[in-house]
């Protein structure tokens, strides 16, 4: 007997045999970045993506909101394939925060409002949001270009969160911050997640962070998913030999060392 609950009610994201290649270098040779990636991200969960750099984690995020198109396979958000979604709606539903912070010309306030203004809306309480990420409220009228890297990243995060996405795609968003600021932003993101019960797909190279914030953790090596497990299990009782080697720090770069 099938359950009455359809997958779309419980699944935030479903990957089915996703492959992605990039054309790189002068030889125009295709380089395979993701190979046959499948998996499900449950609604309201935090999934951390770990693995050596170049393993395809960031690419997977961009596929979720169609900033890249999969070459093979399908990706479903809330039960609908990404190429079937209206593009703007998809990207508001699943918002991506980039690794290197991007600010637009103008003041901090204009930057915070940027995403809302694209939809013809306004931001009601910018001071509140700044306080939430540990930024002083008197920077609202400052030029965003003049902020430090860490401040820019927090502004970029607020700019995304005020648009109320249901899925948050985070690409190493705390790597530009110092240790205490990184921790502060991490706590704030988790609080936001608990309050809203939204879904987070969080790429991090910081294993302690992956362990702290994740409900589930997926390990990527050379474009393949090696292991998907509840975060505690993956870190304490890894099943795959490759995972054990990764946790011992034996893997680096894009491939298997």
């Amino acid at each position: 007997m099938e359950t009455q609950i359809s997958p779309a009610d419980t699944e935030a994201i479903r990957f089915e045999h996703v492959c992605k290649e990039f054309i790189q270098g002068s030889q125009k040779a295709p380089v395979s970045v993701l190979k046959d990636v499948s998996g499900v991200v449950q609604k309201g969960s935090v999934v951390t993506l770990v693995g050596p750099s170049g393993a395809g984690k960031s690419t997977l995020l961009s596929l979720c909101n169609l900033l890249l198109t999969p070459d093979e396979g399908r990706i479903f958000l809330a039960g609908t394939e990404v190429r079937v979604w209206p593009v703007q709606e998809l990207r508001r539903h699943a918002a991506l925060v980039f690794q290197s912070p991007v600010v637009f010309p103008g003041t901090v306030l204009e930057n915070l409002e940027f995403g809302l203004k694209l939809q013809g809306k306004r931001l009601d309480n910018p001071e509140h949001w700044l306080q939430q990420v540990g930024l002083p409220t008197d920077i609202l009228e400052q030029q965003a270009e003049d902020l430090s890297g860490g401040q820019k990243q927090r502004v970029a995060l607020v700019r995304v969160l005020v648009t109320e996405p249901r899925i948050l795609l985070l690409d190493e968003v705390t790597s530009a911050l110092d240790v205490s600021a990184a921790r502060e932003v991490e706590e704030w993101l988790l609080t936001w997640q608990r309050q809203t019960q939204n879904t987070v797909l969080w790429v991090t190279h910081h294993l302690e962070q992956a362990r702290r914030v994740g409900d589930w953790t997926w390990l990527f090596v050379a474009g393949r998913v090696v292991e998907q497990a509840p975060t505690d299990v993956l870190f304490t009782h890894p099943q795959m030999e490759l995972t054990q080697r990764f946790l011992r720090g034996e893997l680096s770069g894009g491939g298997i060392s």
């Binding site: 593009v87 703007q88 918002a95 991007v102 694209l118 700019r159 648009t163």
Partner: protein
């Protein structure tokens, strides 16, 4: 001017070539090509113009303009080679709108009569200058987009439309493409006497009359370049995106 005295002027090309050889600039070949091409093109055009002026048939006027726009389109479209979508018909559209609006207004207001002597040279200047503005726009749009790739992507990622993501850079490219026209209009007569006026004066026209025509040309060119650049800017930006609204700039 006799053909003999014209042929003496080839000595100037020689001076340029000697300088290029001396400094090893490697421009001699291009100089020869440019000299031969300009001589052949202008002599042929001279005879064609003479024929068209004699015939005084509107069909030939239109044919000349179509030819000019065709060549200008082909030339300016080269600047958009690396764009993702098809560029040439958008350039064609921009040049046609520029020519039809400006030349059309001149004719409608009775500023110049519909005779080859007026319409062909003025159209040539409108199309030629619009072509330069179009080339500049295409160049600048690509470099602006490359320089602000992160902002374009961030806007798209926030659920912005391609238009919202690229609009500031389209405007910047339009602005940049019009600067040469505006600056040369500002300094005209102070730095150099414009070519058309120089020609008229040498050919024996009253300088005051020549100045009036030159002003007409300057004002028409400002409008023509602005129309071409804006039309092209707003019609060409979709070629930077694919159907999934992804930025496709190499």
């Amino acid at each position: 001017m006799s053909l003999l005295s014209l042929s003496f002027t080839l000595g100037f090309v020689l001076i340029a070539m000697v300088l290029s050889l001396w400094l090893k600039l490697g421009l001699e070949r291009d100089m020869v090509i440019a000299t031969v091409r300009s001589a052949i093109q202008l002599i042929v055009v001279g005879y064609i113009l003479k024929a068209v002026f004699t015939l005084n048939n509107p069909v030939f006027i239109v044919l000349m303009i179509v030819l000019m726009i065709g060549v200008a389109t082909q030339n300016a479209s080269k600047r958009g080679k690396s764009l993702y979508g098809v560029v040439w018909w958008r350039v064609l559209l921009a040049l046609c709108v520029s020519e039809v609006v400006t030349q059309g207004l001149l004719l409608a207001m009775g500023v110049v009569p519909f005779t080859p002597r007026y319409v062909i040279p003025i159209s040539g200047m409108i199309v030629g200058n619009s072509m330069i503005a179009s080339s500049l726009l295409l160049n600048r749009l690509q470099s602006e987009t490359a320089a602000h790739r992160a902002q374009v992507l961030a806007t798209l990622a926030l659920g912005g439309t391609p238009r919202q993501s690229i609009l500031p850079y389209v405007k910047q490219a339009i602005r940049a493409s019009l600067i040469p026209t505006i600056d040369s209009t500002k300094t005209t007569g102070l730095v150099q006497l414009p070519g058309m006026m120089t020609g008229l004066i040498i050919a024996g026209a009253n300088p005051i009359e020549a100045v009036r025509y030159q002003l007409l040309i300057l004002f028409v060119l400002m409008a023509g370049c602005a129309i071409a650049s804006i039309t092209l800017g707003f019609s060409v930006y979709p070629t930077l995106f694919n159907r999934n609204q992804q930025l496709m700039l190499q």
